[in-house]
């Protein structure tokens, strides 16, 4: 397959932020994840937990809780506001101040008619969910002390609220407190500290389950208001609870990073006398688990260590398949890096700023060694801080390296970069066309003369760029008229074609010469995680979240023979079992048959001339091939050449000089930047 000179880039200090809350939408099988930087991500359980949408965060937004009401997503935070999200356009729809101080909890009733929020001032506020917004209805009886957690009884008649040292049960009709359940404090030094009821769950049979800061999971009876059972789960805090849809399984997230499962099991087999028994313990986190979800086939957890972990419950999964793998999502399922191929520049997108780096150069003569000596160090050219509170949602650098553009939810900026030897300066392009107020995705044409901006309703604005300024050429709109936001754009090398993919899995191809839609690729069940147009053949190469590969001939408007062969033959099981999606596709101009893909753990070159691997054959066969004599290699080699030398790959691109840029962010570096976890006694220490 040949050797590459690799720029091993480790100066992208990307730091994901901690997961604060999660909510599950069982009908659509979507999981909403709120992070501490205010961003909300939507994962699709049905589509291999692909990150469908990302709603960028804001400064000084501390989301505390999330809730789904039907298909609508609401969040509430310590700034005292309730936010409803516009999931079509990946932004907040509106915010509403609840006037109760910081909000700790938000929940909806099962009927989907009302929202309840728990506020710092001790009130539980009920909001009516209307078609276009929410409307404050009334307060329940005001209590002393803050409301930390809330849970609505499935009948909608009662609400249980976790507070400091007490749990209260409210009658929704009258708004009065029916029960006051006293929660005992921890022993020892924590006796003087108030016991915080971090999480409560109200089951349909009238059982209330609470998790508190003394490390106990308590099971209460709401008829009598008495404690049935108490389980000491941890020495530290029990932070979060989640019960399965059928109320037979409960998962508990703790400060120790463990997730403990409780199951509602019959004490004697075959009899109805059941009780909650502690069963399994999962330890996938190093830090606080701030949010857990029991979604029937898996336990999903997230916390301070920024990882989104899906632990499958094998007893609930019928057949072996991709659902069986333990998934850890650490990086977003989209590229945060853009590359100016010709100029050798890399643009890194952080939530609040952009960084532009020039790649270093190596001493070619010392190529006998595995590691080349660096002749010129990589150089940070630019640190661009954005104005305003919103975080960047997308950014791009032009292939020539002269233009930089980014967008937040509220604003859109284009800068021209002037490089005079060592003097780097940027000038902001003023007088942008009015339609360019925000973008979901930005892409430059290969000759840097045009800019493609994905906007609302899957439309793409084509903007021409020149020294004098920029001008809107036209707006491309898909025939289908889908309202979903575009998450991927790909322009062809010759400037003739543009492909866009949206979160409805639709892929639209536009003819840029005629400025109108060319064709629509047949919709596949899984979302597109990466795509690119081949520079010579003009084939659109797409990789989906379920790891399937498609190649679509734009000119002939059909799948290519190779793509059909892949579908007929099927992919190797080891390829399908990988747990992170491919986030970038690029081509080798020297060898048109080579396609370079990467995910978080590997990059791979697909040679379309070689046969596809049989399921029985060895998939990772490079080492074996190396040991074989030259003649036999042909017989054993197959299309997939995998490279796993890098950890935490964020971006792979082949530069014009045939050198490979690999941007990696080792997970250990992220762990090193996390705060210290809670102290735990280890055996023999």
């Amino acid at each position: 397959m040949g050797e590459f000179k690799v720029h091993r880039v480790r100066f992208f200090d990307y730091m994901p932020s901690a997961i604060r809350a999660m909510a599950f939408q069982p009908q659509r099988e979507k999981i909403a994840v709120a992070r501490t930087d205010g961003s909300v991500e939507i994962f699709n359980r049905a589509d291999s937990f692909f990150q469908d949408k990302v709603i960028p965060g804001q400064e000084q937004v501390a989301t505390e809780a999330l809730v789904w009401v039907g298909d609508r997503l609401f969040s509430a935070g310590l700034n005292g506001e309730i936010v409803e999200y516009d999931l079509d356009n990946n932004k907040a729809k509106y915010t509403l101040d609840a006037y109760g101080g910081p909000i700790w909890a938000i929940t909806s009733n099962k009927q989907g008619t009302h929202l309840a929020v728990g506020c710092e001032d001790g009130t539980v506020k009920l909001f009516e969910v209307c078609e276009h917004g929410i409307q404050f209805e009334r307060n329940l009886a005001k209590q002393k002390g803050r409301i930390i957690s809330l849970s609505w009884h499935p009948s909608g008649l009662k609400i249980v609220a976790g507070m400091m040292d007490v749990i209260r049960v409210f009658d929704v009709e009258t708004g009065l407190s029916v029960h006051r359940l006293l929660v005992e404090r921890g022993i020892g030094t924590s006796r003087s500290q108030e016991c915080v009821v971090w999480s409560v769950v109200y089951l349909s049979d009238g059982t209330i389950i609470s998790g508190d800061s003394s490390g106990k999971v308590k099971i209460w009876d709401d008829h009598t208001g008495t404690l049935i059972k108490s389980h000491q789960v941890t020495k530290w805090d029990v932070l979060t609870l989640s019960v399965s849809q059928d109320e037979t399984s409960l998962v508990v997230g703790t400060s120790e990073g463990t997730v403990v499962q409780f199951q509602f099991l019959s004490v004697v087999l075959g009899q109805d006398n059941k009780e909650w028994a502690r069963t399994r313990t999962f330890k996938n986190h190093t830090h606080d688990v701030r949010a857990v979800l029991e979604i029937n086939t898996a336990v999903v957890s997230g916390g301070m260590d920024t990882q989104f972990v899906v632990r499958p419950l094998l007893d609930k999964i019928e057949e072996k398949g991709p659902d069986h793998t333990l998934r850890k999502v650490q990086f977003p399922h989209r590229s945060l890096v853009s590359c100016a191929k010709k100029a050798g520049l890399l643009l890194f997108q952080y939530p609040g700023h952009l960084e532009l780096w020039r790649l270093g150069e190596s001493d070619e003569n010392s190529s006998t060694e595995r590691v080349l000596t660096v002749k010129r160090n990589p150089e940070k050219l630019l640190h661009l801080k954005i104005k305003g509170q919103e975080h960047i949602c997308c950014s791009a650098v032009s292939p020539c390296g002269e233009w930089i553009t980014y967008s937040t939810v509220a604003s859109f900026r284009i800068y021209r970069l002037n490089c005079d030897n060592n003097n780097v300066s940027i000038t902001k392009i003023s007088k942008l066309p009015n339609v360019l107020s925000s973008a979901n995705q930005i892409c430059f044409s290969s000759d840097s003369s045009h800019l493609f901006v994905a906007s609302t309703c899957s439309s793409v604005h084509v903007v021409s760029l020149n020294l004098s300024g920029c001008k809107l050429v036209c707006t491309l709109k898909p025939k289908s008229g889908s309202g979903q936001a575009i998450n991927l754009l790909a322009a062809s090398e010759d400037g003739k074609w543009l492909a866009s993919a949206n979160s409805d899995h639709e892929v639209q191809v536009y003819n840029l010469k005629k400025m109108k839609p060319h064709c629509t690729v047949p919709v596949y069940s899984s979302g597109v995680s990466a795509m690119a147009i081949h520079p010579t053949t003009d084939n659109l190469f797409m990789v989906h979240a379920d790891q399937q590969l498609f190649e679509y001939s734009i000119e002939e408007k059909k799948y290519t023979d190779w793509s059909r062969q892949v579908q007929r033959h099927g992919l190797h099981s080891l390829w399908l079992e990988r747990d992170t999606p491919v986030t970038n596709v690029t081509f080798n101009p020297k060898n048109p048959a080579h396609i370079i893909l990467h995910d978080m753990f590997m990059f791979c070159i697909i040679d379309q001339t070689l046969p596809l691997p049989e399921n029985s054959s060895q998939f990772y066969n490079q080492l074996t091939l190396r040991s074989l004599p030259e003649k036999e290699r042909k017989k054993h080699s197959h299309a997939f050449k995998m490279c796993k030398n890098f950890k935490g790959v964020l971006f792979v691109e082949l530069m014009e000089d045939q050198s490979l840029v690999v941007v990696e962010r080792p997970p250990l570096d992220i762990t090193a930047q996390l705060p210290a976890p809670v102290r735990q006694k280890k055996f023999a220490t």
């Binding site: 499962q261 099991l265 004490v267 087999l269 028994a277 502690r278 399994r280 007893d315």
Partner: protein
């Protein structure tokens, strides 16, 4: 309530009644009444039985583990249900077997009957099998051998919760898993608890199901709370590794049995309430010795300790901590242990050698310790510690028997023997030991040393050469050499034979006469062990002959053995000792006269302690055991036992005089008066003073000569009280036959032995005034 011992006996409490089943490898299941010690029934199965389980729900059925019938080489076993036929005969053949589970482990702890007898669970290797009787279905769950974290998941034991459907399994890496919902193939679930650092040996639920008890190598009893899994209580330092735990049916008492032959009775509040300690089994490095003060057998006990074991009472008197370091219960650690020990003749001094590195080739560390007996404290106290007594390992040590000086000789692999003397008491300090003389012979390594009976001569063997030294001047007197073969053991004759020196090599037994300094006689036998009786001229020699060990007893003066016993036991005899008797027997049979002054005990490869006894002794032991059989109808009180003693006395008298016609049916004459006293209701009873004289009269025997005295009766009472408390365990010990009688001597029953006569005479002299004081009060 478990017994386990020589013939693989495991008994199981039949919860509702006072009966107990036991099974053994001879293919029988026996039903016992354990209060009375009566064998009720014998069921013959016909296969070796490894374990036995009963459940209340399955009346008339027992579950036993027998080998798979098909293949004898196969070690796997099967669990079969046996329907016990209901027939009145005592000995019944039970042939109605039906297989329940196949390929299971022989270990009794790896199978358990579940809640209400609904199912039976068994573990083997990496699999858990649960058989449901109602649905007649079996569920099989298996674990991976290891996971990423290097866990060893093999199962070691299982226990079933008595009330819930919950199975606890113990694992090799110390984890305990609690399985639930195991009727489902896929939706079963388990939780894992981890405290033990080594394999969990045994698990047991309390009858109410509140607690789970576990134990293992750590020798810590762990009590887990079923309701609150994180909470657990510990009872540490119980002894050796825990091998079994069981709980009394009312849940009040736990008992743990340990691999070092110990049973602890523990109250459920985790307070140790009683200890039953037999002879501690383990590595024996030291010789067997007799402590002349307590007449106890002294040998290695718990690691780092010497145990003082009473041969008469079959129990450990105490354990002397020699190493004085905390023993760590973990495999593969190299820790100090006592390897050599010796008493001086009076029993006032004890010399010990402790060593580290005797198993591995790691650095050898050893020290010599000398212990003096403190009369006030009634125990041995450390007097002197010599850390580097020699350059290399000490091979033997012995005290001088002479009464004038207290002298110790040690020999070591560094080619030297050293003489240690006790210094004089000064005002400030206690006398301590110091080296007096260092001897060597041509740089050869000394292996054995031995003092002559008067202490004037010391014999030290250097390979093939025996050197004899004068203990006064430390001059080399003579050398004796009889190649080929290096000397294995040395031994001086005693009493009239003290001029003889015995030595063994791999092929020969030599006897030298020290007056002539010449070989008196030699015989070609492979003697592995040579011991002389300190109270007589006799010498016992154990010889290996085609896998078995033969015993010869002889006098050095004549090469003809006094007594021979072929094939005393299989394998090599490890150690032996002559234990002096308290009172010499006078056996007239010539063959057994060597047993008159002292008794020979020896230790086999299986760590069984065996001895020789005569017929008379056997009978005495049997009689003492009969005392245990008590009538159900009468409550066991000290008063009753007093009566029982009296009754037995009567019987004995009758049996000795009226030639064994006496039977238990024949009641003592005074029983009418006693019955009247006991059976009349209290409110119609005449005044106690009136009855008293009648009662006392009934106790008195017309011939005031055959009554036992006050002292022995009190002693017996005490011992009987103890026996009451632990009646079952007493039997356990008997069946474990630490002291197994062997080679019973053919001897005609005498009308009255001299010893008995003597006792009778003593009894006659004793004062009975206490009885009158009792009546007057």
């Amino acid at each position: 309530m478990k017994k386990s011992g020589g013939i693989q006996v495991i008994t199981f409490l039949f919860s509702s009644s006072l009966q107990v089943y036991s099974c053994s490898a001879d293919g029988t299941v026996r039903l016992w009444d354990f209060i009375d010690g009566i064998l009720i029934k014998i069921f013959t199965i016909g296969y070796p039985i490894f374990s036995l389980y009963v459940s209340e729900k399955h009346a008339g059925v027992i579950f036993i583990i027998i080998p798979m019938a098909s293949n004898k080489h196969d070690e796997s076993c099967q669990l079969v249900a046996v329907h016990l036929p209901k027939v009145p005969e005592q000995e019944v053949e039970a042939r109605e077997l039906s297989a329940v589970l196949c390929k299971i482990s022989t270990n009794p702890g790896s199978t358990a009957v579940g809640q209400g007898g609904e199912y039976i669970a068994s573990v083997k290797d990496l699999g858990l099998m649960v058989y449901f009787f109602r649905t007649q279905k079996m569920q099989r769950f298996s674990l991976k051998a290891t996971d990423k974290k290097g866990a060893k998941n093999a199962f070691t034991c299982v226990a079933c919760h008595p009330k819930w459907d919950c199975i606890a399994t113990g694992h090799e890496d110390g984890k305990i898993r609690l399985w639930r919902n195991f009727s489902q193939k896929k939706e079963y679930t388990y939780s894992t608890q981890h405290w033990h650092h080594d394999a969990v040996n045994t698990l047991c639920f309390t009858p109410e199901g509140m607690h789970l008890l576990s134990g293992g190598l750590e020798s810590v009893l762990v009590q887990w709370h079923c309701e609150e899994v994180n909470k657990k209580d510990f009872l540490p330092r119980l002894g050796g590794p825990i091998s079994h735990i069981c709980v009394s049916p009312d849940g009040q008492m736990y008992s743990t049995s340990h691999t070092d032959n110990k049973i602890n009775i523990i109250h459920c509040s985790l307070k140790l309430s009683a200890v039953i300690q037999g002879l501690v089994k383990g590595n024996v490095w030291t010789d067997l010795m007799i402590d002349s003060r307590t007449r106890a057998l002294v040998m290695n006990g718990r690691p780092g300790h010497l145990q003082f074991y009473s041969l008469q009472q079959d129990k450990q008197l105490y354990s002397l901590d020699i190493v004085q370091q905390e023993y760590i219960n973990q495999k593969g650690l190299d820790q100090f242990d006592v390897v050599k020990a010796a008493f001086n003749v009076k029993g006032t001094w004890l010399a010990t050698v402790e060593e580290k590195g005797h198993c591995a080739s790691s650095d050898l560390e050893f020290s010599l310790k000398l212990w003096g007996y403190n009369e006030q404290a009634q125990s041995f106290e450390l007097n002197t510690t010599i850390t580097a007594a020699h350059q290399d390992r000490i091979t033997s040590l012995c005290f001088s028997p002479s009464t004038e000086t207290t002298m110790l000789v040690t020999t070591a692999l560094d080619g030297q023997f050293k003489v240690w003397l006790l210094g004089a008491d000064s005002e400030k300090e206690q006398a301590s030991w110091s080296c007096d003389y260092v001897g060597s012979y041509h740089g050869l390594q000394p292996t054995n040393c031995c003092f002559s009976s008067d202490g004037s001569l010391l014999a030290v063997s250097f390979k093939e050469v025996v050197t004899v030294w004068s203990s006064d001047t430390w001059g080399l007197q003579t050398t004796l050499c009889q190649p080929p073969g290096s000397i294995r053991e040395l031994c001086f004759g005693r009493l009239s034979c003290s001029k003889y020196l015995l030595g063994t090599t791999t092929n020969n037994l030599y006897c030298w006469n020290l007056l002539t300094c010449s070989l008196e006689w030699s015989t070609p036998v492979d003697v592995c062990l040579l011991r002389s009786d300190p109270l007589s001229e006799n010498v016992a020699a154990f010889c290996i002959h085609s896998g078995d060990t033969d015993l010869f007893v002889f006098r050095p003066s004549e090469p003809r053995p006094l007594f021979t016993q072929k094939a005393v036991c299989g394998g090599k005899v490890q150690r032996c000792v002559f234990a002096p008797r308290e009172e010499p027997l006078d056996s007239c049979d010539e063959r057994f006269q060597w047993l008159n002054r002292s008794r020979l005990y020896f230790l086999t490869e299986q760590m069984e302690l065996l001895t020789f006894s005569t017929r008379v002794e056997d009978e005495r032991i049997l009689n003492s055991r009969k005392q245990l059989l008590v009538d159900d109808s009468v409550a066991v009180t000290p008063f009753y036992l007093l009566l029982g003693k009296h009754r037995q006395q009567q019987e004995e008298k009758q049996s000795s005089v009226v030639s064994q016609v006496a039977d238990r049916a024949q009641l003592p004459q005074a029983s009418v008066a006693v019955k009247e006293l006991l059976h009349t209701p209290a409110h119609v009873l005449p005044a106690a003073s009136f009855l008293c004289s009648m009662f006392v009269n009934s106790l008195l025997i017309s011939k005031a000569g055959s009554r036992e005295g006050k002292e022995p009766s009190e002693q017996d009472m005490d011992s009987e009280k103890e026996e009451d408390e632990s009646e079952e365990e007493m039997e356990t010990h008997d069946s474990q036959q630490e002291v197994r009688t062997q080679g019973s001597v053919e001897e005609a029953p005498l009308p009255l032995s001299k010893a008995e006569e003597k006792e009778l005479r003593r009894v006659r002299k004793t004062d009975f005034s206490w009885v009158t004081s009792l009546t007057s009060s």
